[in-house]
């Protein structure tokens, strides 16, 4: 069993504080660094636990950032049980959210107060085409995780079909998600 001392929890916390500030473009961009630290360097989590933490957070409702909570939970479970697991969740989530939350809150307030400044308008409108295209790129990357055309073409078709139907109609996203789950459940995709 894993034994974690106060100093270990503290270094987990400070490491996540640092990662928070590096997470430009989304928390998931820091996942490789978390893997290096938690699995390779500290051996607090196994490789399989790390991957399944991300998979669970993807499958559950809510923001993907919750994979960080699952990582903290699993570290705590490895270190002795439910109480430690809850401490792990508290430490990883607070660590990852605190700096970025303060910074974003202050920046957004400043930006809103100065929203008529030419520089602020230029930033918000100039970034438009790039952030929109990054959305499409994110979807593309998620879809291309399945990269065997012979086996995965039905999945790609489902992705493309979803994109078009949600773009062009007003159908609710939950119906399409449910359809995806059913198709997958019966092995159609």
């Amino acid at each position: 069993m894993l034994v974690l001392f106060f100093s270990d929890w503290l270094s987990l916390f400070t490491h996540f504080l640092l990662l928070s500030l590096l997470a430009v473009g989304g928390a998931v961009t820091t996942a490789p660094e978390m893997h290096r630290y938690l699995v390779d360097q500290q051996h607090w989590l196994s490789d399989a636990q790390f991957s399944s933490s991300i998979a669970i957070a993807q499958a559950a409702p809510g923001p993907n950032i919750l994979f960080v909570a699952v990582l903290g939970w699993n570290i705590g479970i490895n270190a002795g049980g439910i109480a430690a697991a809850l401490l792990g969740v508290l430490i990883t989530m607070t660590g990852l959210l605190l700096p970025s939350t303060i910074l974003s809150y202050l920046a957004a307030g400043w930006g809103h107060k100065n929203r008529d400044l030419r520089a602020v308008r230029a930033f918000k409108q100039g970034m438009g085409p790039i952030v929109i295209s990054l959305l499409c790129a994110t979807g593309w990357i998620l879809a291309s995780a399945h990269n065997d055309p012979a086996r995965d073409w039905p999945l790609w078709l489902l992705t493309a079909f979803t994109a078009v139907i949600i773009w062009k109609t007003r159908i609710h996203v939950l119906w399409v998600l449910a359809a995806g789950a059913v198709l997958g459940c019966f092995g159609v995709v």
């Binding site: 430009v24 473009g25 399944s52 669970i56 957070a57 993807q58 499958a59 409702p61 809510g62 923001p63 993907n64 950032i65 919750l66 909570a69 699952v70 939970w73 969740v89 990852l96 700096p99 970025s100 939350t101 974003s104 809150y105 957004a108 809103h112 929203r115 230029a122 930033f123 409108q125 100039g126 970034m127 438009g128 085409p129 790039i130 952030v131 929109i132 295209s133 990054l134 959305l135 499409c136 790129a137 990357i141 998620l142 399945h146 999945l155 489902l158 992705t159 493309a160 979803t162 994109a163 949600i166 773009w167 996203v173 399409v176 998600l177 059913v182 198709l183 997958g184 459940c185 995709v189």
Partner: protein, 188 residues
């Protein structure tokens, strides 16, 4: 940009509940649902405003969607609003994901479960692409002009989706070029 001509959240409770509802619909990511709920259902913002706020949420460190919730909550009710939106986004989904983690071991190898997750993953990818396509309509009023928007969007898509460049290079590099050009155009 003013928000006075839109609907808006009526109270902290409304913010918390709205963001909880929004978050609980977000399988495989909340962004696609956020655009649907905030723009199309609640009318708290237009597509144009969503893109502008999203640009700020994306460039700041931390999870984008959490930043967006903070910014919106803070806009209407100051710091308590930001915390209410943040709590709505995270609290209930956090409990659910931890419960799922606790039972995951028993079902993780069941073929039907694996299949359902595969199917939902493919849909989630399509949802994100769809929100990009929907929001692209807002670029018609961009000071950059449509041709330049297409070029910038095309380059960043290729860089990130096909060449797998780090996001931060694209945001800072191509982003600063775009902002400088927007700055020059806005003068006139």
């Amino acid at each position: 940009m003013t928000m006075s001509n839109h609907s808006q959240p009526s109270s902290l409770t409304d913010l918390f509940v709205s963001f909880t509802v929004l978050s609980l619909q977000g399988f495989g990511g909340v962004l696609a649902v956020a655009q649907h709920e905030l723009v199309e259902r609640k009318h708290w913002m237009t597509n144009e405003e969503f893109v502008e706020e999203w640009a700020v949420a994306q460039i700041m460190p931390g999870p984008n969607i959490v930043n967006l919730a903070l910014m919106l909550g803070g806009r209407y009710f100051g710091f308590p609003g930001a915390m209410a939106a943040l709590a709505g986004m995270l609290a209930i989904p956090l409990i659910i994901v931890l419960l799922l983690t606790a039972v995951y071991g028993q079902y993780s190898s069941h073929p039907a479960v694996i299949g359902a997750l595969r199917g939902m993953g493919a849909v989630a990818a399509g949802l994100i692409i769809a929100s990009g396509l929907k929001l692209s309509g807002s670029l018609k009023s961009s000071p950059l002009g449509i041709p330049l928007c297409i070029i910038l969007g095309g380059i960043s898509f290729v860089a990130v989706a096909l060449l797998h460049w780090p996001l931060v290079f694209v945001l800072l590099g191509l982003g600063s070029l775009a902002c400088i050009q927007a700055y020059r155009k806005l003068k006139r």
